[in-house]
């Protein structure tokens, strides 16, 4: 558990250091004293956990000051006079703490710590400064973001000419009170570029620019906004922002040394259907609260059919990182849901009450109860989505072939276990009769050549069940308990008992072989079994065929034969494992829980021979593969969760009802009533009276338009949040958002029609000195394009952008390149593409809406050297409008129009001429230029030599079809175009 609990502590140290006089003492308290108290005392003396034995609590300063039955527990400065110290030193025979049953006397080191602490005055921040150390205080509750939302009136401003909308009045009022004035408006071209990138993630076309420049009507910009909002590319841009919040990834991130992850591919086969849902929902301008509710409970909302596209919304819950431990899984879901939807860090309350926000541990476990009562159905519904139905038959055929191959692997592995046991059953039985990991056993194993290091032998050994009640091996198991000395004497009696035990039906053939026998040694018995096994071994293949087909040509009318064969390993019916999902459930043991069908104990080598990854590869790449919703369902009998004391599931506290967070609830909180409570939770989050949902949403939208939010901590609106720069504006926007039916598109328009959105980005040294972060919005921020916008722009320049929407993910960064938009990129949360992380792609590990933006030389290397940038430069030269140019000046002009959507200045044309003049000799000497010998078509070797093949398969990325970029020297003109791609103009909006 150690690694999972949270680090509220160090925040406390850092913040207290600012506000109290002696940080060293407080640090001592936090690092030394608090752990001792919480480890050894809180169990019985904690107000928050409701334990106050002897009327004493030790989890607040007030607790020990007031003291319990024995009066104040601590006299600061005087350890020897302090009741607490007497108790822990066991000086008073009637008061010894902690008592024996709770672990007994503290270590000398711990006692020394408490002594020093008391002697130095018992500095204790757990009150007074408690506003920051416990969220359970009135001050923490009074935090602005938890207060209900009211729409403030726009303030009166001195300059009434500048504001275009109420938004501007809020902004201007702040500027005026700081004796500042806003910049002038942006140039029209800059504004269009800004609006276009903001709404659709792509630059405007030349025609669009010309149209906008020509349109002098007052509604010109509004028309632009409407056009962009109506474009389906709007959803492709804004879905990506939400996918950051929803920690979207195409992979589970779970690659264990074992466990269930072995029998499923590491990639989600249908994550993309969730991504496509988000795009469509945004394009349809689905009311934002409805959008959230569908992601938690689409299946329970009225009017959603069993194959409805909206079911894919549920992917929100399960598309996150996977854990073997279910509590970690639930924690991940609580964390994402509350950060993404509420801007709250609820998962901080997993082990203790939230240190800053009024979120008690009990509330965490109320939500735990919701997610703990979810299951993922093995079969999920096919939903309408982007795929090629004409290729479906081909897909189904290929899938059926692969699935059959996978089952063949299973049956042949089972066959191998059974056959090996049958061939050497004497040895196996002798070995199994001995205590594991002893010299004796290893000697016996050696003599029978049953080497325990062999993975295959291990599988056989683990597969045989030597229980006394086993119908086949029961008699052997009972005999094996006899010691060597008494064996001959006691064996007949033991055997007779075993065969006549009414509780067990011993296999008929076994009974016949053993009845009346007087074995002298266990070995003799093992040999009898070996004889039996050898007799039935010829029928093993037949039985497997029978289990697979259900046809019974060999006449397994005698179930005793089948039982003997399957004593080594039970053969599942093919019907029960016919789909990949069922096979995966069977192999991972999930079926065992339901139907008792335990999987064979495969060792990693066998486990890795299955081809789940190839099957997934097919599903993820075949155009005819349909999509399915990543469904969740409520468990039939939902149960309440217990509080885990300090996050430890073995220390259960009280059960808590499933219900919403207290701080966000009005009046008397009611327990959730629908199944797991997902629907109730969804409604509580989407309620207009929820003070957080709308505020968090409008802040994010604002952030994506301005580069910064009004609250910069986009996913944390709690007490540790950044102070809002314009609190009234935030509330105004949030209230307006709800008023407008939670319409994101209306909000975009409202924001973009303001004068502040349309500001120029010129610098003003005086204002910059005053407000370096531009918090007051006197200018527009200069922003580097994010990864998607850069790549999408490059793809657009090729003139070959694939504008189709939706469908399976493509590889964004490796050759052969895809020309699809970046939203359709494959995102591997465990191994994010290096290029993507170099360009600050959001870490898909957890909800994270605000991207950072770095400048590193690796980014420059991408523009200078990557085949992608070369590919773009070449494509630009191949474009018709460039090719049609009849002289150099025309060509430069054409290139500028494609790249920058403007005419080149005279100087720029001049530089182009100079460049070409100097570059051409270099390029004509291309005899000097050596092409890399193997670079053109040979695919790069991966995992050279070291890793086994199945590993490679298991972690395969998605690869695109197509050609690699030809490795040949650039022409002077291609070189010129590539240089333009490297310029700042290309990569920034301002």
């Amino acid at each position: 558990m150690k690694a999972f609990s949270l680090a509220g502590l160090l925040i406390a140290v850092a913040t207290l250091a600012e506000t109290t006089p002696d940080p060293a003492k407080l640090a001592f308290f936090e690092t030394k004293v608090r752990p001792v108290l919480s480890e050894h005392c809180y169990k019985c003396h904690s107000g928050i956990e409701g334990k106050s034995k002897g009327d004493l609590t030790l989890d607040t300063r007030g607790g020990w000051e007031k003291g319990g039955e024995h009066g104040p527990a601590i006299v600061p400065g005087k350890p020897d006079d302090s009741v607490l110290f007497k108790a822990i030193t066991y000086t008073d025979p009637d008061l010894r703490m902690p008592p024996k049953k709770e672990g007994g006397k503290l270590s000398d080191a711990d006692i020394g710590i408490l002594r020093q602490w008391i002697a130095e005055g018992a500095a204790d921040p757990r009150e007074g400064a408690g506003k920051r150390l416990s969220g359970m205080t009135p001050e923490a509750r009074a935090h602005w973001a938890f207060q209900s939302l009211h729409k403030p009136a726009a303030p009166v401003v001195k300059d009434s000419t500048w504001p275009k909308t109420d938004i501007d009045r809020f902004v201007l009022a702040k500027l005026e009170s700081n004796q500042m004035t806003p910049n002038g408006p942006a140039e029209k071209e800059a504004l269009l570029r800004r609006a276009s990138y903001d709404l659709i993630g792509l630059p405007p076309s030349v025609d669009e620019i010309n149209a906008f420049l020509a349109d002098t009507s007052p509604k010109a910009f509004e028309k632009v906004i409407d056009r962009l909002l109506d474009s389906p590319q709007y959803g492709e841009r804004w879905a990506r922002h939400w996918l950051d919040s929803a920690r979207y990834s195409d992979t589970t991130g779970l690659v264990g040394d074992g466990g269930k992850s072995r029998f499923a591919d590491y990639r989600y086969e249908y994550a993309w259907t969730y991504r496509d849902y988000v795009i469509r929902a945004l394009n349809e301008d689905k009311p934002y609260n409805q959008f959230l509710m569908e992601q938690l409970a689409a299946d329970q909302l009225p009017g959603v059919a069993t194959n409805d596209w909206r079911l894919a919304a549920l992917g929100f819950i399960t598309v996150g990182k996977r854990f073997e431990n279910p509590d970690d899984q639930i924690d991940e879901q609580i964390d994402t849901t509350t950060k993404a939807m509420l801007g709250l860090t609820v998962s901080c309350a997993r082990c203790h009450d939230h240190k800053f926000d009024p979120i008690p541990t009990a509330d965490y476990y109320s939500l735990h109860g919701v997610f703990a009562n979810l299951s993922e159905p093995i079969e999920t519904p096919e939903i309408p989505c982007q795929f090629d139905p004409s290729a479906r038959d081909d897909f189904e055929q290929k899938l059926a072939d692969l699935e059959k191959k996978n089952r063949d692997i299973l049956y042949s592995a089972i066959h191998k276990i059974i056959a090996d046991f049958q061939a050497r059953s004497e040895g196996y039985l002798m070995v199994l009769a001995m205590k594991p990991r002893t010299v004796e056993r290893s000697d016996v194993a050696k003599s029978y050549h049953v080497n325990g290091d062999d993975y295959h032998v291990k599988e056989v050994l683990r597969s045989i069940r030597l229980g006394p009640d086993n119908p086949v091996f029961g008699p052997y198991a009972r005999l094996a308990r006899l010691s060597t000395n008494e064996f001959a004497e006691k064996a007949p009696e033991t055997l007779a008992k075993a065969l006549s035990d009414h509780k067990v039906t011993v296999n008929r053939l076994v009974a016949e072989a053993l009845v009346g026998k007087k074995p002298q040694s266990l070995r003799e018995v093992a040999q009898i079994y070996a004889g039996l096994m050898s007799k039935v071994s010829s029928q093993t293949a037949e039985l497997i065929r029978y289990r697979r087909t259900g046809a019974d040509p060999a006449g397994f009318s005698d179930p005793a034969v089948a039982e003997l064969i399957e004593s080594a390993c039970v053969i599942p019916s093919e019907k029960s494992i016919e789909t990949t999902e069922k096979l995966s459930a069977y192999l991972s043991g999930a079926m065992a829980k339901k139907s008792g069908q335990a999987p064979p104990p495969f060792e990693p080598k066998t486990a890795d021979s299955f081809i789940f990854s190839s099957i997934n590869q097919l599903r993820l790449t075949h155009p005819g593969a349909p999509g399915r919703a990543m469904l969740v369902a409520d468990k039939p009998k939902p149960a309440e969760s217990y509080i885990y004391i300090r996050g430890n599931r073995n220390k259960k506290g009280a059960a808590v009802p499933r219900r919403f967070l207290e701080i966000l609830s009005e009046g008397d909180r009611q327990p959730f009533t629908h199944g797991s409570g997902r629907l109730d939770l969804a409604r509580a989050i989407g309620s207009p009276s929820n003070p957080l949902t709308a505020r968090v949403a409008v802040n994010r939208i604002w952030m994506h338009h301005f580069g910064e939010g009004i609250v910069r901590t986009a996913d944390d609106f709690g007490n540790m949040a950044d102070k809002p720069s314009h609190p009234e504006l935030l509330d105004y926007l949030a209230a307006k958002f709800i008023e407008d039916g939670w319409s994101m598109k209306k909000l975009h328009k409202e924001i973009m029609l303001s004068a502040v959105y349309q500001l120029g980005s010129d610098n003003n040294p005086a204002f910059e000195a005053k407000d370096p972060g531009n918090r007051l919005l006197w200018r527009a921020n200069v922003r580097r394009l994010d990864f998607e916008a850069i790549r999408d722009s490059l793809v657009l320049l090729t003139g070959e952008m694939d504008q189709s929407m939706g469908g399976k993910p493509v590889n964004l960064t490796d050759e052969p390149y895809s020309y699809r938009r970046s939203i359709y990129g494959y995102v591997d949360r465990r191994k994010l593409s290096d290029l993507m992380s170099q360009f600050d792609f959001s870490d898909p590990e957890m909800a994270n809406t605000r991207r950072i933006s770095t400048i590193v030389p690796q980014q420059a290397l991408f523009f200078m050297n990557s085949p992608m940038s070369v590919d773009v430069a070449r494509h630009v030269m191949d474009r018709a409008e460039v090719g049609e140019a009849t002289n150099d000046d025309q060509r430069v002009t054409a290139i500028y129009r494609v790249l920058f959507q403007r005419k080149p200045q005279a100087r720029e044309i001049l530089w182009a001429r100079e460049f070409i003049a100097r570059a051409e000799p270099l390029h004509s000497e291309s005899g000097k230029f050596k092409l890399p010998a193997t670079a053109s078509t040979t695919p790069r070797k991966r995992n050279e030599g070291k890793k086994p093949r199945e590993m490679k398969d298991k972690y395969a990325v998605v690869q695109n079809q197509g050609e690699k970029v030809v490795r040949a020297n650039l022409t002077a003109w291609e070189s010129y175009t590539q240089a333009l791609l490297c310029s700042n103009e290309f990569a920034y909006i301002y």
Binding site: K2, A3, S5, L6, A7, L9, L10, I11, V13, A14, V255, G256, D257, P436, R437, T438, D443, A445, D453, G707, T713, D716, G718, M720, G760, N763, E768, A769, P772, N774, V782, R784, R830, L832, L835, S837, Q838, F839, D843, E845, N848, T854, I855, V856, P857, Q858, A860, L861, M864, N865, P867, E908, W911, F915, A968, Y976, A979, S983, N984, E985
Partner: protein
Amino acid sequence: MNFEGLAGDCGKRVAYRNRREFLQRTGMGIGGLALALLLDETAGRNRAMADDFTSLLTRKPPLPAKAKHVIHIFAGGAPSHIDTFDPKPALEKFRDLSLPGQTGVGFPSPFKFLKSGKSGLEISEIFPQLGTVADDLCVVRSLYTDVPAHGAAAKLLHTGSITLSRPSLGAWTVYGLGTENASLPGFVSLGGSAEWRQAAFLPSLFQGAKADFAPNRPVDKVLLNLKNEFSTRDQQRLQLDLVHKLDDLHMEKAPHDEQLEARIESFELAFRMQAEAPEAFDISKEPKEIRDLYGKGDLAAKLLCARRLVERGVRFVQIDAGGWDHHANLERAIKGTAEAVDRPAAALIADLKNRGLLDSTLVIWGGEFGRTATAPGRVGAESGRDHHSKCFCAWMAGGGVKGGTAYGATDELGQDVAENGVHIHDFHATVLRLLGFDHTKLTYRYNGRDFRLTDNYGKVVEGVIA
């Protein structure tokens, strides 16, 4: 942006009209400027909420410290402590006998331990060369970790977390100290999982760069997009000259913003990196006697390369030196694994020392956990050891550690920590301390929480610090 630090004008932001003016007024050489400009500009823009650690600019750590660089040789697979640096002669009494509370039988090490150096540090005979630098080694014999599973334990060792995505030790190091050479990545990984070099939520500035390095592989493609396969250097120079003209023109009409300046610098830096990085990775440039000192093979090349990188200012080099998962045939197999690292590691320490770099370079060798004192059956040539997380060992050298010492101890049979246990969190706290940081204060605010390498845990092991 951290311009105020450069301008020596704390708390005040100075605006510069252009790059030249900036250079003039800050009196900075191009190298320092380039470093300062490689940064997380969003954090810069929001200086109010960000701390100062958002560029690659070289920083002095808050506490006095010697180590400025780290070479982490990760012995993945979990080396047996009993056969390497933690002699357990008492196991001999239990050969082939059940150990109390254990399954399996006592498996004494088939190897002799030799008292080495002036210090008499005991080292297994499978490391004859390391014996020659024994007086520089500080062996920690009382490490312990949380789980005996490779993936999870290795992740804990590299990132401080078993399951969650957290910044790696190298990323924290560069975050804390910046780098000394902007023409090379501050954190280079010579192999290993992507998780071990990730920056996670730290700005990508601090992520380990994967170097596709191996002996005899061309060095010009060692980093992603390092090699241009389409233009000559002359052609590219021409391109960049044009880019600068365009950018200068652009800045005349575009608003002044430091980001734009920074991006211009980043292209020059990249241009230099193309030349300097291959040189840094090119071990054929080393004199023969040095190459001979390290010996032959993959690890020899990697450790020699690590030295070249550190010498050029790279802050953290990570090397995957695995193969220690000896479940069977330990006696034969471990010799080979040890041999592969023995000479190169000894050479690295000696070489660093000769160059006066050992004091400022912390070399770490160790795996993710240890191995059992028992074998599954009768002890023989085919015997091996299973996973064991309750105790294991590692060594450090240089960087201000106490050489010629063994810190902590396991019990008589090497099954558990007997004194001075060092959890991975403690180990991390200690490495950060050797680099000049209080591990509780090297934090990064992300999504409403201050994160640190050691989570809520960790205590500095003072006993290993000289």
